[in-house]
């Protein structure tokens, strides 16, 4: 996890450029975004709201398909450019090779479908050869792995019967059921309280260790990024202003904005408990 070892690069993003055309003037949301993700690596993207970090992540996950949006650059994964390949090809990766979890566990799950059904959906789509019984077994085992007690019972429950932290665990289980190569976590802990945050971060770490899944961890919370990531990209107004290993960024921040971000981390020896940037 310390970045100095040579890993095989599984995802490379070059010159990603995202522009909105929903106003008279085209507005650039992301510019010259570059990212290389190695196998088993956790890369963080930090920045404030509107810095383009979530947009970049959605682009990688193939979830930006608005008509008023212009995208250019290359997102190379398994020899395919995810920006230009057809939808059918893109779908074979989504949920199977590249999974995503979101900021809002309260609304990201389907409100009136059972947890089990949602957890095993990727399997149902990508591996129809797996029969119902086997699917159920795998879903229950995955629900157990993400730390849900009595996974057989949870399997037959509905999202409204679970807490926010439990729902995010369900989201992670559903994302991991196909053993993807890449997990994109877009502010996965922002909507959760602090103790649950720590549990989710630990869970992501252990998934990374046990499954070897590469993780792109997006957050506005530098202290979280420091706990989990080996490398960090700092974004401001759609541009990556600084990138490097976590240690370098935290000990020798070059960019003024990065310094400000670091300075805004609440310190235990001070009385402030505010977590927002």
């Amino acid at each position: 996890m310390c970045g100095s070892e040579k890993f095989e690069v599984i995802l490379s993003v070059n010159d990603l450029h995202i522009e909105f055309h929903d106003h008279k003037q085209p507005q650039t949301a992301v510019e010259d975004f570059d990212l290389e993700l190695s196998k088993g690596e956790i890369v963080g993207i930090v920045g404030e709201s509107g810095s383009g970090k979530s947009l970049s992540a959605l682009a990688i996950a193939g979830l930006l398909s608005r008509h008023d949006m212009y995208k250019s650059g290359r997102i190379m994964f398994e020899g395919e450019d995810l920006l230009t390949c057809n939808r059918r090809k893109l779908r074979t990766f989504q949920g199977d090779e590249i999974s995503m979890i979101f900021q809002e566990p309260m609304t990201s799950l389907h409100p009136v479908k059972k947890i089990g059904w949602q957890t095993e959906e990727s399997l149902r789509i990508h591996h129809p050869e797996i029969d119902k019984k086997e699917r159920r077994l795998r879903a229950i085992s995955m629900l157990g792995k993400v730390g849900l007690h009595e996974p057989e019972r949870v399997y037959d429950m509905y999202p409204h019967e679970l807490s926010g932290g439990m729902r995010q665990r369900v989201m992670i289980a559903a994302a991991m059921i196909g053993h993807p190569k890449i997990l994109i976590a877009d502010e996965p802990t922002t909507a959760l309280d602090v103790t649950v945050q720590a549990q989710i971060v630990d869970l992501l770490k252990s998934i990374n260790k046990e499954e070897g899944t590469s993780i792109i961890f997006i957050s506005h919370d530098l202290s979280l990024v420091r706990q989990i990531c080996s490398r960090v990209l700092v974004m401001q107004k759609g541009v990556v202003v600084e990138s490097g290993s976590v240690n370098d960024i935290f000990t020798r921040p070059k960019n003024l904005y990065t310094r400000k971000l670091i300075a805004s981390i609440p310190r235990v020896d001070l009385t402030s408990e505010k977590k927002d940037i």
């Binding site: 990766f93 949920g95 609304t107 009136v112």
Partner: protein
């Protein structure tokens, strides 16, 4: 189960309230059945005799209790002019029920595909045309569209004989044929409302977070729509359809006049004119029961579709 019992007892209470209101209403409006039957030439003693015989001189609560007791036993009483009310209603009710079923069927098979299609192609040419047409047709009351349909399809295109009718006992398919156009007239405004509702509902659900999750798992747009969005989008539509079904039964009262169909609606109107209270009361109670049963069914469907409702009510 507990819920259904609770609902059922509420239904009984509502029915009692409706029955009292109906009974009181017909005792308050002017007009005397005895005069109606014997005519204005009858002498006062003849009228008195008939009133006595019909039990009209008893106190109002005695008459009410007698009526409701007979009603519960299934005896709907005697019509003042046609004989047994039960026989009368049983003879007419298939006509009205078939009319409502056909209108409901039309609404279902037209508005659901159209609502989904327009939502999927929001802002497209067909969507824009449908939205405008929808708004226009929604504003046309069924009796008026009934007249236009009679004019265009009956008189001009001669697809059916205006004012013609065959009893379901004689020629069932001919009977159904005569009901097609009245059913269209009843269904049209409901179709337009349902399309509008479903379109809006689907568009709203598509923008929700769980839709993005569904895409992230590799669903096709069709998969997202039919396996995720539709179940949620249908919840308000189910409510609407339940209300629309009850509305269609009462809407047929007017349409039966326009198309000259001898159903329950026609009978209701002529019975009101003739002060034929037993018939009117039985029909109104029947409509009230129907509305409540439909509501109960909608509630049960609701609980099957949305598990969250149980959590709120229990």
């Amino acid at each position: 189960m507990k819920y259904i019992l609770k609902k059922a007892s509420m239904m009984v209470l509502t029915l009692i309230a409706v029955s009292i209101l109906v009974f009181l209403a017909f005792n308050l409006i002017p007009g005397d059945p005895a005069t109606r039957i014997l005519g204005t030439e009858a002498t006062e003693s003849q009228l008195q005799l008939l009133r006595q015989e019909m039990g009209l001189n008893d106190p109002i609560y005695v008459r009410y209790l007698r009526w409701i007791w007979n009603f519960i036993r299934g005896d709907l009483g005697e019509s003042y002019s046609y004989g047994s009310v039960s026989a009368l209603i049983l003879d007419k009710i298939p006509i009205t029920i078939w009319l409502a079923i056909m209108a409901f069927f039309l609404m279902f098979v037209i508005s659901i595909p159209l609502g989904i299609f327009t939502a999927r192609h929001e802002g497209g040419v067909i969507d824009k045309i449908v939205v405008v047409l929808d708004q226009v047709i929604m504003a046309i009351p069924p009796f008026f569209s009934g007249i236009i349909i009679t004019l265009v399809f009956g008189l001009t295109l001669q697809l059916f004989v205006p004012g013609g009718f065959v009893s379901y006992k004689i020629d069932f398919w001919g009977f159904i044929g005569y009901l097609v156009f009245p059913a269209i007239a009843i269904a049209l405004p409901k179709i337009t409302m349902c399309v509008k509702l479903l379109r809006g509902s689907v568009i709203e659900e598509i923008s929700k977070d769980y839709t993005r999750t569904a895409y992230s798992r590799g669903n096709t747009t069709r998969g997202v729509l039919y396996r995720h969005v539709l179940k949620n989008a249908m919840i308000p539509v189910i409510t609407f359809m339940g209300m629309a079904l009850a509305d269609m039964v009462s809407g047929s009262i007017v349409i039966e006049q326009v198309f000259n169909i001898p159903g329950i609606g026609r009978m209701l109107l002529s019975s009101i004119n003739n002060r034929d209270y037993p018939v009117v009361e039985a029909i109104i109670m029947g409509i009230a029961i129907l509305v409540m049963v439909v509501n109960l069914i909608v509630d049960i469907i609701y609980r099957l579709v949305d598990p969250r409702i149980e959590a709120i009510n229990d």
